[in-house]
């Protein structure tokens, strides 16, 4: 008999009650997926993951998917209105929000036939400190997928047994799935270019000189 999976709010309080000192955050996700996830700090990730795997009510024994998200630096605009000398003035404040990388794990229970529970970790920034905890010691199946996230996003996994590139070659320096990745400029003729490809085509093949 399959046990119903506790809703995420309940799961969060279960986890925080079992592991004092571990803080988690509920990350909502808008429609259509509407699958909220649980974010844990990289320092707590291993303990939280072991709890989710071993707790008899949860038994999330399978990590089906690991993926990464790149959130680039962005600017946040806040508009405030104030009445100065009887005239309404609008001030716009632009705040720079530094970017970060996220790693998302989809967890299922094969023994209790429930899931998914979505777990997230977030790096401090996108530059010098992109380290999160590896969950390969908890779920063996994460090994290759964490290597893929390392290869394509540049997230370092502390505690990973064999953190090497898996798709690109050793000595490749870029992380192609990052938003600011610039691919080698090797555009070639395409019969029907459009959008970014059209811009590339225009740069590579200048228009013929106008006939007098």
């Amino acid at each position: 008999m399959a046990m119903p999976l506790p809703v995420l709010e309940e799961l969060k309080s279960l986890l925080e009650a079992a592991l004092p000192g571990v803080r988690t955050e509920l990350v909502p996700n808008g429609p259509v997926p509407a699958q909220a996830s649980l974010r844990v700090a990289p320092t707590d990730a291993d303990a939280a993951a072991r709890f989710l795997r071993d707790d008899p009510r949860l038994r999330l024994d399978t990590c089906s998917n690991v993926t990464g998200i790149d959130w680039p630096d962005r600017e946040e605009k806040t508009t405030s209105k104030a009445i100065v000398d009887g005239v309404e003035k609008e001030t716009v404040e632009i705040r720079r929000v530094p970017g970060y990388l996220e790693v998302v794990y989809h967890l299922y229970s094969v023994s209790l036939k429930h899931g998914p529970v979505i777990l997230r970790q977030r790096t401090a920034n996108r530059g010098d400190d992109c380290t999160v905890a590896s969950l390969t010691p908890v779920w063996r199946g994460c090994e290759f997928q964490e290597r893929e996230v390392y290869d394509l996003f540049g997230v370092r996994f502390a505690g990973h047994p064999d953190l090497r590139r898996i798709l690109m070659w050793e000595g490749f320096l870029d992380h192609p799935m990052r938003r600011d990745y610039v691919a080698p400029d090797d555009h070639e003729y395409e019969p029907t270019p459009h959008d970014e490809v059209l811009a590339l085509a225009k740069a590579h093949y200048p228009a013929p000189e106008a006939k007098p």
């Binding site: 798709l167 490749f172 070639e188 003729y189 093949y205 228009a207």
Partner: protein, 205 residues
Amino acid sequence: MIDEGLKNELAKQGVVATSLQELYNWGRSNSVWPLSFGLACCAIEMIAASMSRWDISRFGSEVFRPSPRQADLMIVAGTVTKKMAPQVVRLYNQMPEPKYVIAMGACAISGGPFKQGYNVLKGIDRLLPVDIHIPGCPPRPEALLHALIALQEKIAGEKLTGPNRPRHLRADAPSEFPVPEFGPHDLVPPKNDALWKPIPFVRAG
């Protein structure tokens, strides 16, 4: 040289007249041994072509050799990623002359649906001399058989002497091509400029 009309007349009387060139090319073109080597889904069609339904052995090419030293033909069947490209060129270099290349499918001839990707070579003809291109995604086994017949016709039409003789009879023509290295951002060099000379293209508007 024997006259073509006389040759036909003799053939009707049961006398076969031929030349060494014809005999040599006839033998070569009917025993093209491919390298057993596949890169992606096109390889499944290549395998189907070698099995009983399409039966590539009708054309003398059923002997898929697992060693490049014994193969005459490289069928590049599938997507050539940049990570795989040096190995493909190295395999080609290990094949003895005379050797031929069939680029099978959209990916092998142009990069196909992955042409705009960062990790896929935009066609194996950037690195190797391709004799026959087969379009399709993937091409059916019949298309591969057609390509093989076209290659046989090409081999049969080769002149063994004179300025247009094939590469394996010319001491100055290369039989090996440079293997690209893995660079920090791309293959180094990304293509063989001595080999790949696209037609200059001018945008219409």
